[in-house]
């Protein structure tokens, strides 16, 4: 196959090198962190909700890790605004893979879904559904 990789098409490299909405929000409605211990990936997701307390207004992320995990987080910050918390919870790993636009090999799925899982767990903590410290993907 030589140069280049299916899994590293332009979009992913672009989002990795130029992450969108990178940093921390000053007044997030909720914040949550997570990690993918095998890769050492870490992600923090900050979410601000609109006044209805349900519609996502703005999302930012920070963290460290492989291109897949960081690009996925970057893509997610663009995807989420406008969605309700219910719509966020309804997302699954296929949605994330669609967003990335490439096939993700089985060993890298956990990198791809980390940010999504962190956002979902953060929302669940916010609404009182669960109580956990950090999110982990395996």
């Amino acid at each position: 196959m030589g140069m280049g990789s299916d899994m590293y098409r332009q979009q992913i490299l672009d989002h990795y090198k130029n992450p969108r909405n990178h940093g921390e929000l000053e007044d997030p409605t909720f914040t949550h962190t997570g990690e993918n211990p095998t890769c050492g990936d870490t992600i923090q997701v900050d979410v601000r909700l609109e006044d209805d307390g349900d519609t996502i207004e703005y999302v930012a992320f920070s963290g460290d890790g492989c291109a897949i995990s960081q690009a996925a987080a970057s893509l997610l910050t663009e995807e989420l605004p406008g969605k309700t918390l219910e719509e966020l919870q309804a997302m699954d790993r296929d949605d994330m893979i669609d967003m990335l636009g490439v096939d993700i090999s089985p060993m890298r799925i956990k990198c791809a879904v980390l940010a999504e899982k962190v956002a979902q767990d953060g929302a669940k903590i916010h609404t009182g559904e669960i109580e956990i410290e950090t999110t982990k993907t395996e």
Binding site: G4, S5, M7, C39, G65, C66, A67, R108
Partner: protein
């Protein structure tokens, strides 16, 4: 040493023994074996994780099941006799491979990890207590590091770590400081699976013995790759795994000095390791069976002996030289660029592996990208997390070589790393 004089390995001929090296990869990973989309020739550089298995060994396994598969030790019928003789002789063969004194000193386990746990449970739990110390190195694999750490917690013994210096060498002076009369066990990796460092285990053993401590040598990365002699090292224990030395998965070895193993209480209980059992109590079998409870990994033990034959036919000194040369070449080529960090000591003396990182490219991404060129390397912490913390990175990429690898494969590795660098530039 005579190593330089000896003929190099005939790699072309050796490769014929390993049909997997003809694999093409890159296709559908859901179903094992060659898939539709597989179009790139495999370059297998993940030998420190698991080596490939030559036909000679696979045939021994198939032959076992097709012609004399049977439970061992107690059976009188022909099949059981054949299997028993082969299984017991396999211990002798493996003993010979590391210059041990016969089958009594060779216990078959599941892997290196179980060998380390066997001693930790059977000896450590019984002998260690508050005030005792276990000395490890900062470059230990989790197999020994986590095991002794946790046994330390359970017994109250302290665990200390010998420093690794900035070049990735063991700080022997620090070892001399740490090892005292309170030290009961020193567990040291012979060849680091991350740094490639070859540790002076003879010297460490001397220091340990001066203080009445035992030495456990983790030989997972040395026994497959160079001549190892338990007597020359004066190791009290030595552990290694079949799957890293042309043998099957599911078999490992604990070598132990006979007089120490004889003193040790059993580890696992059950059939084949007992002599007499009543409802009230039990007594134990002779060595090594005392430590092999239940139906053993018979086919795997016999196949491991075949792997020893295979390697001795190649000549372990030549295996060592071959790996050394590939590792040195890889080290030189990879460090041509300033943005590559290769971990571990520079120079010729290293085990057959290089762990490295490229600035700005996560090791996992590098491994994914290399895989598209058919190149199999490992990326991660290589089961040395604390060492990686010390190196200041969560993960590294590791290429590791074996008897069938070539300079051309190293060139392909370097080229693919260049491509990844450009992709991420």
């Amino acid at each position: 040493m005579g190593v330089q004089e000896s003929e190099p390995l005939d790699v072309e001929r050796i490769r014929e023994d390993f049909p997997i090296l003809e694999r093409r990869v890159g296709g559908d990973v859901e179903s094992p074996g060659e898939g539709d989309g597989d179009d790139t020739p495999l370059i297998y550089l993940d030998n420190a994780a698991t080596s490939q298995t030559p036909d000679q060994v696979v045939d021994v396994i198939a032959d076992y099941y097709r012609s004399y598969n049977s439970n061992v030790h107690r059976g009188i019928h022909s099949l059981s006799q054949e299997a028993s003789v082969a299984y017991e002789q396999a211990h002798d063969r493996v003993a010979d491979f590391v210059n041990a004194d016969g089958r009594e000193e060779v216990v078959f386990t599941k892997n290196t990890t179980e060998a380390e746990n066997l001693v930790a449970y059977a000896w450590g739990l019984a002998e260690l207590g508050p005030g005792d110390e276990v000395v490890l190195t900062e470059m230990e694999h989790h197999a020994s590091l986590v095991t002794w750490q946790q046994i330390g917690k359970r017994t109250g013994a302290d665990v200390k770590y010998v420093r690794v210096d900035d070049e990735g060498r063991l700080d022997v002076d620090h070892a001399r400081e740490l090892i005292t009369d309170d030290t009961e066990m020193v567990s040291v990796v012979h060849v680091s699976n991350t740094l490639g460092t070859i540790n002076p285990v003879e010297e460490i053993a001397d220091v340990a013995h001066d203080h009445g401590a035992y030495v456990f040598v983790d030989g997972a990365q040395s026994v497959p790759n160079r001549p190892v002699d338990v007597k020359a090292m004066d190791a009290d224990f030595l552990a290694f795994s079949g799957h890293k030395m042309c043998g099957p998965t599911g078999i490992g070895v604990l070598y132990g000095k006979r007089e120490i193993l004889e003193e040790m209480q059993p580890y696992l209980y059950g059939g084949d390791m007992i002599r007499k059992v009543t409802f009230e109590d039990a007594t134990w079998e002779e060595l090594p069976w005392k430590f092999e409870a239940g139906t053993p990994n018979i086919a795997q033990g016999i196949a491991l002996a075949a792997a020893c034959d295979y390697l001795d036919d190649l000549g372990m000194d030549r295996v060592e030289t071959h790996e050394n040369q590939l590792a040195a070449y890889a080290y030189d080529r990879l460090t041509e660029h300033d943005d590559v960090t290769v971990y571990g000591p520079p120079g010729d003396e290293r085990g057959g592996l290089v762990a490295f990182n490229v600035d700005g490219v996560h090791a996992h991404d590098l491994s994914s990208i290399l895989n598209d060129s058919g190149i199999a390397i490992r990326a991660g912490d290589h089961c040395t997390q604390p060492l990686h913390d010390k190196l200041g990175t969560a993960a590294s990429a590791r290429a590791s070589f074996y008897v069938y690898n070539t300079r051309e494969e190293v060139d392909a590795l370097v080229e693919a790393v260049d491509e990844a660098r450009q992709l991420f530039a």
